[in-house]
């Protein structure tokens, strides 16, 4: 697959809010208009739709078609990506593959969810049989297990985790689209003192469920150049791994699919972790950021705390981290939340980061995490490297 033959020509995003008074399709329409305005494309030129799944749309098995109908899109390719928080970055890879295969020429990737206002999700999974009857809360409990296991086997400096929380919060304060309620400074002491949800997972480790939308418009790189679009972002590497070690009955939950997904992504891009200019990892819990730093090869497995202590993560420091605040400090827009850090990376590479613009915009690494399986860590790990059109 010639991933780098695709070009992201525009990004769009809404404000993230605690609960949306606008319908999920209205958010989608908002994203569509932003993308058309920023790219100069006409609606009729869009012939592909690849959207992320959503809690709001979850009750509708015809979600991509219905969304296409509401937005009045005539399409040659239409699908929903349902790999949880990996869906938005996964949609970019699938859009590039569809364009490369000639299935579509210009693909709209909207990521919209109003999970707080209207969730229609009814998970038909192991939960109803194995975890519902024991009072398991899902992700916070899963990360409670992971964090305790990590601490026991590798040692864990909670103040290092707090440093990541503080850096992301500083970025959210610089992001007008971040959930307003979260745009207040915090300190490492605040992080340590925040109340326990699922020991040792604290409130300030966790995302706040919110509503919001984002999206991208993707076309062929040559087509973009022909139109004279001077700002484009190119996906140059991608890896995805679902159900790492599926055939093992017990796994180390601190090892994730990002090792395999990252290796593939870096090889395709011809880069190494030391080449990465800014890092935009999926963040549902703070420790997931550290686990990804390890699995992607920024440091060794088990050495995350030390690496964090030695590295600056503000937008103007060594390895800018989730410069829009990440989901933890900008709010998690349901299953569309994976779009938040992806769109921030694209914005940075467009040079439109404003008060939080990174200096080095040669590339950005974005990741996805999706799904919480029984007694492991997460179902899908994804990694993508983006560069500005050179």
């Amino acid at each position: 697959m010639a991933l780098h033959d695709a070009a992201i020509v525009a990004y769009g995003e809404t404000r993230i809010v605690p609960v949306s008074d606008r319908d999920v399709w209205q958010l989608g329409a908002d994203i569509l208009e932003q993308l058309l305005d920023r790219s100069g494309f006409e609606k009729g030129e869009i012939d592909g739709l690849i959207l992320s799944s959503s809690m709001t749309g979850a009750g509708n098995p015809f979600w991509s078609q219905t969304t296409a109908d509401y937005l009045a899109l005539e399409l040659d390719f239409c699908q929903t990506v349902d790999i949880g928080g990996s869906s938005p970055v996964g949609a970019v890879a699938r859009a590039a593959a569809a364009i490369d295969a000639g299935l579509a020429t210009t693909v709209l990737c909207p990521y919209a969810d109003t999970a707080v206002a209207e969730s229609n999700a009814r998970g038909r999974a192991y939960n109803q049989e194995w975890t519902g009857p024991i009072g398991y809360l899902g992700p916070p409990a899963a990360f409670g297990f992971i964090t305790r296991y990590y601490e026991e086997h590798y040692g864990l400096d909670y103040r290092a985790l707090g440093k990541l929380a503080v850096a992301q919060r500083e970025h959210a304060i610089l992001n007008d689209l971040a959930c307003e309620k979260l745009r207040k400074p915090i300190t490492v002491d605040d992080y340590i003192a925040s109340r326990m949800i699922n020991d040792p997972v604290r409130l300030l480790d966790s995302v706040m469920p919110c509503d919001g939308a984002s999206g991208l418009l993707i076309t062929g790189r040559r087509a973009a150049e022909k139109r004279g679009l001077d700002k484009c972002v190119i996906p140059v590497g991608y890896g995805e791994r679902t159900n790492l070690n599926a055939a093992r009955p017990i796994v180390d939950p601190t090892e994730t699919g990002h090792a395999a997904a990252g290796a593939k992504c870096f090889a395709q891009a011809g880069m190494a972790p030391s080449d990465i200019a800014s890092f935009h990892p999926y963040d549902d819990f703070i420790i997931a950021i550290m686990m990804q730093l390890e699995m992607l090869g920024f440091c060794q497995h088990g050495q995350g705390s030390a690496f964090i202590r030695e590295t600056g993560f503000r937008f103007d420091e060594d390895l800018p981290l989730n410069t829009g605040g990440g989901q933890i400090s900008a709010g998690q827009a349901g299953l569309a939340g994976g779009g938040t850090n992806l769109i921030e990376a694209v914005r940075q590479l467009f040079g439109e980061g404003g008060a939080r613009q990174v200096k080095d915009r040669r590339n950005a690494l974005v990741t996805g995490i999706g799904g919480i399986p029984y007694g492991r860590n997460w179902n899908t790990s994804a990694a993508m490297i983006l560069t500005p059109d050179a």
Binding site: G132, G135, A141, V201
Partner: protein, 143 residues
């Protein structure tokens, strides 16, 4: 000192049984623990699945009765929960590695904060459900 709730008086949601997990649930009526075993791979698996995680062949699977003894793999304290567990926090959630080499997620009852640790030996504690089945929980082996 934190008092942990054993949830004995919580009306738990009934587990949704699948066609392929029925033998597990039927055995719980007699407080017996059956788990799936792949004869070819010579290994156990949990939770019950429609096929072998090792070979992809359901025909390789059989049910074997095990003791349910094992040790804590990891644990967390649930400080917040949804109904009907709300107002019954805090309680223990643990991943327990059975001696046969599979992990089971469950509540641990009759366990103090001082006792709880990764590696703690545990044994089954069957919690009756309203339909005659029993739910597999654990308690410290030396309780």
């Amino acid at each position: 000192m934190t008092q942990f709730n054993d949830l004995a008086d919580v009306e738990r949601p009934l587990p949704v049984e699948r066609s392929f997990s029925k033998p597990f649930w039927e055995a719980t009526r007699e407080k017996r623990l059956l788990i799936q075993y792949d004869r070819v791979a010579q290994a156990y698996q949990f939770y019950p699945r429609p096929t072998s995680i090792y070979t992809g062949k359901a025909s390789n699977l059989e049910w074997r009765e095990v003791s349910g003894r094992g040790q804590v793999f990891s644990y967390t304290i649930a400080r917040r929960a949804r109904p009907p567990f709300r107002e019954h926090e805090p309680f223990w959630l643990a991943l327990v590695t059975l001696d046969e080499g599979v992990n089971v997620m469950a509540n641990v009852v009759g366990c103090t904060q001082e006792q709880m640790a990764i590696g703690l030996r545990v044994k089954p504690h069957w919690q009756p459900l309203s339909d005659g089945r029993n739910l597999l929980l654990f308690e410290p082996e030396n309780a």
